[in-house]
């Protein structure tokens, strides 16, 4: 996610990530096939949610 932020300035605009962080994670997960629970901000150990979970779709 940090890599994207550096390259595209996503998460740094009007809402400062307030509205866009979760939708962004959804988009990244959709494109890369990495589960949302496994997405990291900056490498292993920086998962966006508490690690070791499986997603339960709503």
């Amino acid at each position: 996610m940090d890599a994207l932020k550096r390259r595209t300035r996503v998460l740094t605009g009007r809402c400062q990530g307030f509205d866009c962080q979760v939708p962004l994670a959804e988009i990244v997960s959709g494109h890369t096939g990495i589960g949302i629970a496994q997405l990291t901000k900056n490498g292993p150990g920086s998962e966006l949610v508490a690690p070791g979970q499986a997603e339960v779709p709503a």
Partner: protein, 319 residues
């Protein structure tokens, strides 16, 4: 770039206040009206508070003695809007403003376009303060430092727990609802800390959330730091007290979304970002008005809706 449709009124923001304004204007027979919404759906903030079995009822309002969830409440407002002939532009942002001519440049799914209006209502709502904006919460920007919006996003849409041992920073109604949601989803009892000596949520509000959570409260924290290298591992105060956890939720304390007002050169107080309002919610340029949480403070969806209706009256008088 397509040049100009002209509207009587342009409303920026499709949340309760924007919808209230559109409904109010339609009732007065003013048109055509255009409603511009940044997201792909109408309803604004309360839309994010889904009704779930076993979930914590948050963002509720009492109507005729019955509790109504955020999602339902916003849904009803959207239905009322559908009965009017307001033009709606979803997934559209305002990128440029010429305030005197009330000319807006929009970026939407069909590209860039321009429109003009006789009056503009700013109903952009508010967001939560970032740690940097709080000014007393320092530390690294690690992963798992989240807003309440993220908590509801992870929990309600993905069934993911943002933290097992959450540290909640802030103590208003939003912070309590976040704590309750986390607890109900299976986290440990949250730690809650704030600069204030006593929680900013009222006694009855705290009583309501006691059903789900009794956060471990620490008040009077004057300066603190988010600990952690890759992900947050807790919060440490300047006098050495530590609250370990595996995620920090930065909750409440809303900042009005006044970026557009700044863009238009309106009078805005900085750094608080509060709009300087003349009477009847008029902004510093003629023909510009504001409604809803963008005017500052902490308000329920219903209040915003009625505030939107009220601004419609003012706009009608202006036209």
């Amino acid at each position: 770039m397509s040049i100009g449709q002209h509207f009587k009124v342009a409303i920026i923001g499709g949340g309760p206040a924007g919808i209230g304004a559109a409904v109010g204007l339609a009732k007065r027979g003013i048109g055509p009206v255009v409603l511009i919404e940044r997201r792909a759906e109408l309803g604004g903030t309360p839309m994010g508070y889904r009704k779930k079995p076993g979930g914590v009822p948050t963002f509720v309002e009492w109507t005729r003695g019955r509790m109504v969830f955020g999602e339902e409440l916003a849904g009803r407002m959207v239905q009322r809007l559908a009965k009017t002939d307001t033009a709606i532009r979803l997934s559209t942002q305002v990128t440029k403003i010429v305030p005197a001519e009330k000319r807006l440049t929009l970026l939407g799914p069909e590209g860039v376009c321009e429109l003009t209006a006789d009056a503009v209502v700013l109903a952009a709502g508010a967001r939560e303060q970032t740690p940097a904006e709080k000014g007393w919460l320092a530390g690294a920007r690690t992963a798992r430092v989240s807003f309440t919006r993220h908590v509801t996003g992870w929990l309600d849409n993905h069934g993911l727990l943002p933290a097992r041992k959450p540290v909640v920073v802030g103590s208003d109604l939003i912070a309590y609802s976040a704590a309750a949601k986390l607890r109900a989803a299976g986290s440990d009892e949250p730690v809650m800390l704030d600069r204030r000596q006593s929680p900013s949520a009222g006694f009855l509000e705290r009583l309501f959330f006691r059903r789900w959570t009794r956060p471990d409260w620490s008040g009077g924290v004057t300066a603190a730091e988010i600990m952690g290298d890759r992900a947050a591992t807790g919060v440490q105060s300047s006098d050495g007290q530590e609250w370990p956890g595996d995620g920090v939720m930065v909750c409440g304390e809303l900042v009005p979304n006044t970026e557009l007002a700044l863009l238009a050169g309106m009078a805005v107080e900085l750094p608080s970002r509060q709009l300087q309002l003349a009477r009847s919610q008029a902004l510093s340029q003629p023909g510009w008005f504001a409604a809803g949480t963008v005017i500052g403070g902490f308000h329920g969806a219903q209040w915003c809706f009625f505030n939107g209706r009220r601004v419609a009256r003012t706009v009608a008088r202006f036209l």
